[in-house]
C-alpha cells in the first residue's frame, strides 16, 4: 500500500512537471477567465495540497474528467475500454503459454541436440524482434498479401488473432526458455529416475512427473507477463487500431491530456499490484512447501 501511494505520488509529480499548463491551448479568453479556471481546478495551490485533493477524489473513485474532451470521465473511459484490452491481453497470454511451454518442454527433453538448439534460437528470435515489427509483418503477410485476417479494428474474433499473436509471441520465447530451465532442474531429480524405472511411458514421465514440478517457477512469470502484456499492448493497439486502454494512453500522452494520463497510469499500477499479489498467493497455494512454511 505505501508503495502504491508512492507510485501515485510519482505519477502525479511527473504529470504536473510536464511543461505548460492545461489551459495554454492558444484559445483567446480574458485573463480573468483563465484565473477563474485555474482557481476552479486548484491549479494555483501548492503541489502537496493539489495531491491531497486528488487523493480525496480517487478515494471516491473519481479520477476527474478529460482535459481535452469535455465531459468525458476518466473512469468511464476505463470502464468502456478496459474489457477490450483485457481480451487482447488474455488471448496473448494464452498464445505465450500455449506456444512457449510445449517448446520449452520439448527443448529440455532433447537437451543439447539439434531440436533443442533450433527451439532456443527460435525463442531468442521471437523475444528479440520488436512486437511492432512483428505486427507490421503480420499485417503485410496475413492481412494484405493473403487476406486471411482484417488489417485492424475491433469487433469480431478475427480481429483478435493477429494482434494477440504479435503481442504474445515474443513472450512465448521467454516462457520457452524458463520452462526449459525449470524442466532441466526437475529432470535430474531422483523421482524422475524412479518413474522411468517403474516402467512408466516417456510421455507420462515427462508430463505427469516432470512438468507438474516445473510448473511452479512459471507462476511468477505470469505476473511478469501481465506487466509486459499491458505495456506491449500500448503500441499493438495503436497499430491495429484497437480502441483499448493502450491506444487511449498513447493518444492522451500525445494530446497532453494530463488527467487522463494520470488516471490511466494509476489504473495500470493497480492492475500490476493485483497481478503480483495473485502470483504470490497462487505460488503458496501450488507449493505445499511454501504453504506450510
Amino acid at each position: 500500500m505505501p508503495v502504491w501511494l508512492g507510485v501515485v505520488f510519482l505519477a502525479f509529480v511527473l504529470v504536473h512537471s510536464i511543461p505548460g499548463g492545461p489551459f495554454d491551448t492558444g484559445a483567446i479568453r480574458p485573463p480573468a477567465t483563465t484565473a477563474l479556471l485555474e482557481d476552479h481546478y486548484h491549479l494555483n495551490d501548492p503541489l502537496w495540497k493539489q495531491f491531497g485533493y486528488y487523493l480525496g477524489d480517487i478515494a471516491h473513485g473519481d479520477f476527474g474528467e478529460s482535459l481535452t474532451r469535455r465531459g468525458l470521465a476518466v473512469s468511464d473511459v476505463i470502464k468502456e475500454r478496459f474489457p477490450r484490452s483485457l481480451i487482447l491481453g488474455a488471448t496473448a497470454l494464452i498464445v505465450a503459454l500455449l506456444v512457449g511451454i510445449p517448446a520449452g518442454v520439448i527443448s529440455s527433453v532433447r537437451r543439447n541436440r539439434p531440436t533443442d538448439y533450433t527451439v532456443m534460437v527460435g525463442a531468442t528470435l521471437a523475444y528479440a524482434v520488436p512486437n511492432f515489427v512483428l505486427s507490421l509483418l503480420f499485417i503485410l503477410f496475413f492481412g494484405l498479401k493473403l487476406g486471411w485476417f482484417p488489417l485492424g479494428g475491433w469487433g469480431t474474433p478475427q480481429h483478435v488473432v493477429l494482434p494477440a499473436i504479435a503481442l504474445g509471441l515474443p513472450w512465448a520465447g521467454l516462457v520457452a526458455r524458463l520452462t526449459r530451465a525449470a524442466m532441466l532442474d526437475v529432470l535430474q531429480e531422483d523421482f524422475m529416475r524412479l518413474a522411468v524405472m517403474k516402467g512408466l511411458g516417456p510421455v507420462t514421465v515427462v508430463v505427469r512427473h516432470g512438468f507438474r514440478n516445473a510448473l511452479l517457477p512459471l507462476t511468477t512469470v505470469i505476473a511478469v507477463l501481465t506487466v509486459e502484456l499491458i505495456t506491449g499492448s500500448l503500441i499493438i493497439e495503436v497499430i491495429f487500431g484497437i480502441p483499448g486502454i493502450g491506444q487511449e494512453m498513447v493518444t492522451s500522452v500525445l494530446a497532453a491530456d494530463y488527467t487522463m494520463v494520470l488516471g490511466l497510469v494509476i489504473f495500470y499500477a493497480t492492475i500490476i499490484f493485483i497481478a503480483n499479489f495473485l502470483a504470490d498467493v497462487s505460488y503458496a497455494l501450488l507449493d505445499p512447501r511454501i504453504r506450510n512454511g
Binding site: L14, V121, I239
Partner: protein, 294 residues
C-alpha cells in the same frame, strides 16, 4: 630441504588461469555470441563512419519517392524521396547512442544506489529499496514515456528518460550481489586490514559485481533500443527529419502494401541489432556465470 618437483602434468593440473581468462574461454565457445559481437563491432564502425558510407546526406530530398532497391539506392527511397540506406545508417547512430547512453546512466545510478544499499544496510537500505520498489511498480516503457513527455522530445531526453526508467532493475541486482560479496573472506580481510568503506566497495566488492553488471547492461541495451524505437514510432522520439529507426518504420506504415521494402529495411536493421545484443548477452552470462548456464 630439497625442492620436491611435483609431476604436475601427470597429476592433470591445469595452468593457472585468471577468472577473466576463464570467462573469455567460455565466451569463445558460444558461437552465436561471437558472431553477434563481430556484427555489433561492424555496426558501431558503420555508425561512426556514417558520413563516409552513407553515399547521400540522410536528409537530402530530391530523388523519386518510394522507389524500390536499385544500384543507385541500395534500400530504395522513402516517401519524401530520401535515400533509405543513408537514413538507416544514420539511424544506427541514434539507436546505438540511446542504447549505450541510457545504460551508462542506468549502470551509474544503479551501482551507486545498489552498492550503498547493499553495503551499509539499515535505514539507508530501506529508503533506497522503497524508492526502487516505487520506480519498479510502473512498467519501464510507461515510465520512460512520462519522463520523455516531461523532458521534451530529443535524443538526449530519450537517453535520460530510458536511463532513469531502468536503473531500479540494476540497483536491485547489484544490491543482492553486494550482499553476497560482503560475506566473502577477502572482503572481510580487507575491512580488517583497515580499508576504508569506500576502498572496500570501490576496489574489492566492485570487482566482484562487475561481471553481473556487464551482463545486465548488455541485456539492457537492446531493451533501451526497443523503447527508443517504440517511443519514436508513436512520435515521442527526436523530431523529424531525424532518421530514428522507429520513426522510419512508422513513416513507412502507409506504404506497406505498395512498397514493403520501405518498412522492411529499417525493421530488419532494428531486429537484427536487437537479436545480436541478446545473443551477446547470452554468451556473456554463460561466460561470467557458469553455474547458471546449462
Amino acid at each position: 630441504m630439497a625442492d620436491v618437483a611435483l609431476p604436475l602434468d601427470e597429476l592433470g593440473a591445469h595452468p593457472a588461469r585468471s577468472p577473466w581468462k576463464l570467462a573469455w574461454d567460455r565466451f569463445r565457445d558460444h558461437k552465436a555470441a561471437c558472431i553477434s559481437a563481430v556484427f555489433l563491432a561492424l555496426l558501431i564502425v558503420v555508425a561512426l563512419a556514417a558520413p563516409l558510407i552513407s553515399r547521400y546526406p540522410p536528409n537530402y530530398l530530391g530523388f523519386d519517392p518510394v522507389v524500390g532497391p536499385s544500384w543507385a539506392h541500395w534500400m530504395g527511397t522513402d516517401h519524401l524521396g530520401r535515400d533509405l540506406w543513408s537514413r538507416v545508417i544514420y539511424g544506427a547512430r541514434i539507436s546505438l547512442l540511446v542504447g549505450f547512453g541510457s545504460q551508462a546512466l542506468a549502470v551509474t545510478i544503479g551501482v551507486l544506489v545498489g552498492m550503498t544499499a547493499g553495503y551499509f544496510g539499515g535505514w539507508l537500505d530501506s529508503i533506497l529499496m522503497r524508492l526502487t520498489d516505487i520506480m519498479q511498480a510502473l512498467p519501464g516503457i510507461l515510465l520512460a514515456m512520462l519522463f520523455v513527455t516531461v523532458l521534451g522530445s530529443s535524443t538526449r531526453s530519450l537517453i535520460l528518460a530510458i536511463g532513469l526508467a531502468t536503473w531500479p532493475v540494476m540497483a536491485r541486482v547489484i544490491r543482492s550481489q553486494v550482499l553476497q560479496a560482503r560475506r566473502l573472506q577477502y572482503v572481510e580481510a580487507a575491512a580488517a586490514l583497515g580499508c576504508s568503506s569506500f576502498r572496500t566497495l570501490s576496489v574489492h566488492i566492485f570487482r566482484n559485481v562487475l561481471g553481473p553488471i556487464i551482463v545486465l547492461a548488455t541485456f539492457g541495451i537492446p531493451s533501451a533500443m526497443f523503447t527508443e524505437a517504440l517511443l519514436s514510432y508513436i512520435g515521442l522520439g527526436p523530431p523529424p527529419p531525424s532518421p530514428s529507426w522507429g520513426r522510419i518504420i512508422s513513416d513507412a506504415f502507409p506504404y506497406l502494401e505498395v512498397s514493403p521494402h520501405y518498412m522492411l529495411f529499417p525493421a530488419i536493421a532494428l531486429s537484427v541489432t536487437l537479436l545480436a545484443f541478446n545473443f551477446l548477452g547470452d554468451g556473456l552470462r554463460d561466460a561470467f556465470d557458469p553455474q547458471g548456464a546449462d
